[in-house]
Amino acid sequence: MSGSQPVKRAFIRACKNRSYLGYDLIDEILTPLCGMHKVTKPSSKEAVKAFVSEINDSIEEFCQSLVFIKYAIKGEEYLVYAKTDATPDNIANTGLTAEECQYFSKLLDKIAAEENCHIPWNAAYNELSVQSSAKPVKKSRMQHLLHKWSEMGYFIDLYDSIYLGPRSLVELSFYLTSNHSDHIKNCTLCKCLVLWDVKCASCQIQFHRDCIHKYLQKRDICPSCTNLWTTSLRRSTSSS
């Protein structure tokens, strides 16, 4: 759909506000939007991806980008509004104090240091106050910030734990794979960050489900250790 510019611009603004969107939400937003401007809605996933690709051409030179990422822990693919020049120090920092910015970095590092990149929800507050500062962050403020950062997609509250969110995996991919390389690596097949995904039974190396599925259509060994691949790729939970 080489469509209407106002529709593309409105979609960019909506994505910037929502930060990360599943396909259902994308459809909920596009249906009234395309109706309002009387253009055909991109309805298949491929059409949505093509639509997003056209949008990226117009915003990428300003370090803004719409990126699709497979978020394995929820079995969903999300469209993330990402700033391509983001670092842990400059994320979401307008209006925040230095201590509050530090809280973001500490929380990120604490979660990324765990083997499965999640911590119990109360560990997000008790153990992270910046004791030595003149203006420590109050617990109520920490809760408010964590809620705000979760709405922004940097963290996700799931099963009573705080996980790295899809936006962190997109914007901070380089930071995470460089500084937390024990547990956070890139899939050797597509070179993008992979987390909570399918592992080889022999060597425990992780791959994206779709990447290894495609690879195994031609070969039956692990791309990393070359032993026979035995891990089932059938999803244990039902997901779209």
Binding site: P6, I12, E28, P32, I59, F62, C63, T94
Partner: protein, 231 residues
């Protein structure tokens, strides 16, 4: 061999003089920096001060030369309209070129805030575009919204949301006045610059008619009064 002869040096001098008085039309790093600064600050909806943008551009002149191009790019690529808060203002606000097509464009936290804002804007409009704060809070109380208590849907800090956040975001404006020199000062709320730019009275009437289960035609009188005020 000298790379610039006297003739070409004077030509360069007059060219750069011409550039100094014209707006910059090329996207350089400073243009991108200013645009990014504005995008980063647009979510909070608080006016962006010229003096805060100056460090990004280097100095005031460099900033002002680039603002026309930044304004054009924001509108063309993002549909964001950058406008001065008031005629001779040194602050700017970002307005979307079109209203939202649905509430799905809002985050779960924003929805109660917008609902409350619509209620307040509707009430101010129906009271002749101006209402005393006590009367506004009285109306909310009738809807069991107590501004100093936590509400199940609208959350806590409702007074702060109305008196601080909505005012800083330019959705509402607070005014103080006294009827005569012998009267106490009273505080009034009117629509702020952002509300006037983002919403039309017709939209608010549409919301009010759905909420109160009435026909939008029932509000015609209010609309014509408002239109008279504006002209």
């Amino acid at each position: 061999m000298a790379s610039t002869s006297r003739a070409s040096r004077s030509q360069n001098a007059s060219q750069s003089q011409a550039n100094n008085t014209q707006a910059i039309v090329q996207k350089d790093d400073k243009v991108r920096g200013i645009l990014n600064y504005i995008l980063d600050h647009s979510a909070e909806k608080i006016p962006i001060k010229e003096k805060d943008m100056i460090p990004v551009a280097g100095d005031k002149k460099e900033l002002l030369l680039r603002l026309p191009l930044v304004t054009e790019l924001l509108a063309d690529r993002f549909g964001i309209i950058l406008k001065p808060l008031e005629a001779a203002s040194k602050s700017y606000i970002c307005i979307s070129e079109a209203p939202m097509a649905s509430i799905h464009e809002l985050t779960p936290s924003q929805r109660p805030q917008y609902t409350l804002l619509y209620l307040i804007l509707m009430y101010i409009f129906m009271r002749g575009n101006r209402t005393e704060d006590k009367k506004l809070y009285g109306m909310l109380e009738m809807l069991t919204i107590m501004v100093d208590e936590e509400h199940g849907y609208f959350g806590s800090n409702i007074r702060k949301l109305i008196e601080e956040t909505f005012v800083r975001q330019q959705y509402l404006k607070r005014e103080r006045s006294q009827l005569s020199a012998y009267d106490d000062f009273k505080t009034y709320f009117v629509w702020g610059a952002r509300a006037k730019a983002e919403f039309t009275h017709e939209q608010i009437v549409g919301f009010a008619s759905k909420l109160l289960n009435k026909d939008p035609k029932d509000f015609e009188q209010y609309l014509s009064v408002a239109q008279e005020d504006e002209s």
